[in-house]
């Protein structure tokens, strides 16, 4: 049994966010982190590994320096990693990206009990599209917004977190799960022992030549050409004004609030 965990290196938005004159993110000048939802996915996978001893493989598509992130995930507990990297894959939108990652996973093979974990969405694009699209392209069932996952043979019981509550459903493997951050799901630290050995663990690099014969890979399904998304404009929205905290008794605050709303002709 093997769990693939799809991860993405994203700009660290907790520090300074640098924006190019055209409104796009200036990735080169920002530090990178592992996408937070993807870390939750890795933690879910490692918990299943703790219980079952299965193999956990970290998968990413990105430029060669993304190896550093994969090594960190191995230092956390993943067994090996796959780096999908080629100039031909550059400029891919979510559609082309999921096409390429699906091809990579398909090449490595999916057996009956295997699971693919993804983070719900990446903090740079916030599309939440890549995970579900990989599932579609691999023709496996998908469960999104997973907060808790229990495995029993070839069945998973997944607790989905929705806006107004939880939904618990069962799904058959092989399947794809997108994971969310949850209070009870603190991603584990790397360990020093893991760090000392992480560069000795296997990392497979899948380039264009390795994947070009996969049915999902065609020149017009990858890279810029294979990307139907067109961004017309990207801009930084004006900052909201500072809020006002009202104080006093409930009655006073309600009167204050309604007075303010009336003054603005909102009510």
């Amino acid at each position: 049994m093997r769990i693939y965990v799809c991860v993405k290196q994203v700009p660290d938005t907790s520090g300074k966010v640098a924006v190019n004159p055209d409104g796009t993110l200036n990735r080169a000048s920002m530090a990178t982190i592992i996408n937070p939802d993807d870390l939750s996915a890795m933690e879910q996978a490692l918990r299943i590994k703790d219980a079952t001893g299965c193999q956990v493989t970290a998968v990413t598509m990105g430029p060669p320096p993304a190896e550093g992130m994969l090594r960190e995930l191995i230092a956390m507990g993943a067994d090996d990693a796959v780096l999908i990297s080629a100039r031909e894959f550059g400029g891919s939108d979510t559609f082309a990206t999921s096409q390429i990652i699906a091809a990579g996973i398909s090449k490595l093979g999916i057996s009956k009990e295997d699971i693919i974990f993804c983070g719900r969405q990446a903090i740079d694009g916030d599309t939440a599209q890549v995970g579900p699209q990989i599932a579609e392209k691999l023709d496996v069932p998908q469960v999104t917004y997973a907060a808790d996952i229990k495995k029993d043979g070839d069945k998973l019981t997944v607790k989905r977190m929705l806006e107004d509550g939880y939904m618990t459903i069962e799904v058959q493997t092989p399947c794809l799960i997108t994971c969310i951050k949850d209070r009870d799901l603190k991603p584990r630290y790397m360990t020093l022992g893991g760090i000392m050995e992480c560069y000795a663990k296997p990392m497979t690099v899948l380039d264009y030549n390795a994947l070009k014969d996969e049915p999902l890979i065609e020149p017009d399904t990858i890279g810029l050409k294979g990307s139907p998304t067109n961004i017309f404009k990207s801009f930084t929205p004006p900052q909201k004004g500072q809020g006002v905290m009202l104080s006093g008794t409930d009655k006073e605050m309600v009167e204050d609030l309604t007075g303010r709303l009336k003054n603005k002709h909102l009510i």
């Binding site: 090594r71 960190e72 630290y189 020093l192 022992g193 000392m196």
Partner: protein, 381 residues
């Protein structure tokens, strides 16, 4: 010459930073004010392998060496000196056992002190044997009838001594022979005749526990002799050479942490219509603090590199500790000066760091003893 950290060391630095920010910093003020040793934090350090730095994997350790210790300890000290001191001093016992222990001793004790999450302690100091370590009065008389050493005496100022599961104790096996009659013994918590005396109330590193250890006819099996009989003084001195690099790392870390706070405060605090960081007087303070601390780090890392590469390092470990500890006091003092009245208040971490920094000039050998060691090493050439 290459000053760059390896990619694994960079990763360790990141781990130690994350750990310090998430686990240590939020508790630093509380454990200082309540004088509490955070047991859970030590267990968490063990879970990520930091209590086994420098110990091979086969004994439950994580690998790495002295430079890895410097990286972890200095990152901890930026946020919580008590935790940095606890880790740094804990590591002395497993390292002494690794270097001088028999295979049986290593197999028995090292997994407990590394992945097992038990605290280690190193007990040399006595009420009348501080800088003059040869003044040890504790005795360990061999009883051939039972094949045991019988320990009697008192050790004081032992970091972690009250909590440690495994301790390396120095005692006279041949009283009257001075340093040539001292042996090292591995003692376990709970051995009959071994009790914990006074827990000290300290000016700084209050979240690391410092205890008095009392031995009254405490019988230690002969197999717990560490190294050869009457050769313990050398083991102690060697262990202190390594420990001093750990103190150097603590001192560098607390100084770097103080600089971070001072720079931040200087950018935020507005007086005379501008941030005080725009005043040249403050800038000069920051410049001096940063320069001296960078130099202190370089010397600490050099000493660690010498130990890791198998070179004699007594001189450099003493120099790096002397220099870094004096710098830690200098830097925390100026950082507090930059903070003004706010720095003096317990609401800010500066006053704690100022108190914590002081110990680095005293423990694992005072600055004065370090000068003796340094002069002896330099002048014998």
């Amino acid at each position: 010459m290459d000053f760059a950290l390896t990619r694994e060391q960079e990763m360790l630095k990141k781990l130690a930073q994350q750990f310090a920010e998430t686990e240590l910093e939020p508790m630093a003020e509380e454990i200082d004010q309540t004088h509490t040793f955070p047991v859970e934090n030590f267990k968490k350090m063990a879970a990520v392998g930091l209590t086994g730095i420098g110990i091979p994997k086969e004994y439950g350790g994580s690998g790495g060496g002295c430079l890895e210790k410097v990286i972890a300890v200095s990152e901890f000290a930026k946020k919580c000196m008590s935790s940095a001191a606890t880790l740094s001093i804990h590591l002395i016992a497993p390292h002494a056992i690794l270097k001088h222990g028999t295979e049986e001793q290593k197999k028995k004790y090292l997994p407990r002190l590394t992945s097992g999450g038990e605290l280690g302690a190193f007990a040399l100091t006595e009420p009348n044997a501080g800088s003059d370590a040869a003044g040890v009065k504790t005795t360990a008389i061999f009883d051939p009838a039972t094949n045991e050493y019988v320990l009697n005496g008192t050790k004081c100022f032992i970091t972690g001594g009250g909590r440690a599961g495994v301790l390396v104790i120095f005692a006279l096996t041949d009283p009257g022979k001075g340093t040539k009659g001292i042996s090292a013994l591995i003692v376990e918590k709970g051995m009959p005749g071994f009790s914990i005396g006074k827990i000290e109330s300290k000016m700084g590193i209050a979240g690391s526990e410092t205890a008095e250890l009392v031995f009254e006819d405490c019988r230690v099996p002969a197999e717990n002799l560490l190294g050869k009989e009457n050769k313990g003084f050398r083991i102690a001195m060697e262990a202190l050479d390594g420990a001093r690099i750990g103190v150097g790392a603590q001192a560098v870390g607390v100084a770097e942490g103080a600089i971070d706070l001072a720079v931040k405060y200087a950018g935020e605090r507005v007086q005379f219509g501008k941030p005080i960081g725009a005043l040249q007087g403050i800038q000069w303070y920051i410049a001096e603090m940063a320069t001296k601390t960078a130099a202190a780090r370089a010397l600490v890392e050099r000493a660690a590199w010498m130990q890791d590469s198998g070179q004699p390092y007594t001189l450099y470990s003493a120099m790096c500790k002397l220099n870094a500890s004096e710098n830690a006091r200098f830097v925390t003092n100026l950082a507090m000066q930059i903070h003004g009245g706010y720095g003096f208040m317990k609401d800010y971490p500066l006053e704690r760091m100022y108190r914590d920094a002081k110990i680095t000039e005293i423990y694992e050998g005072t600055s004065e003893i370090h000068k003796v060691v340094i002069a002896r090493e330099v002048m014998k050439k």
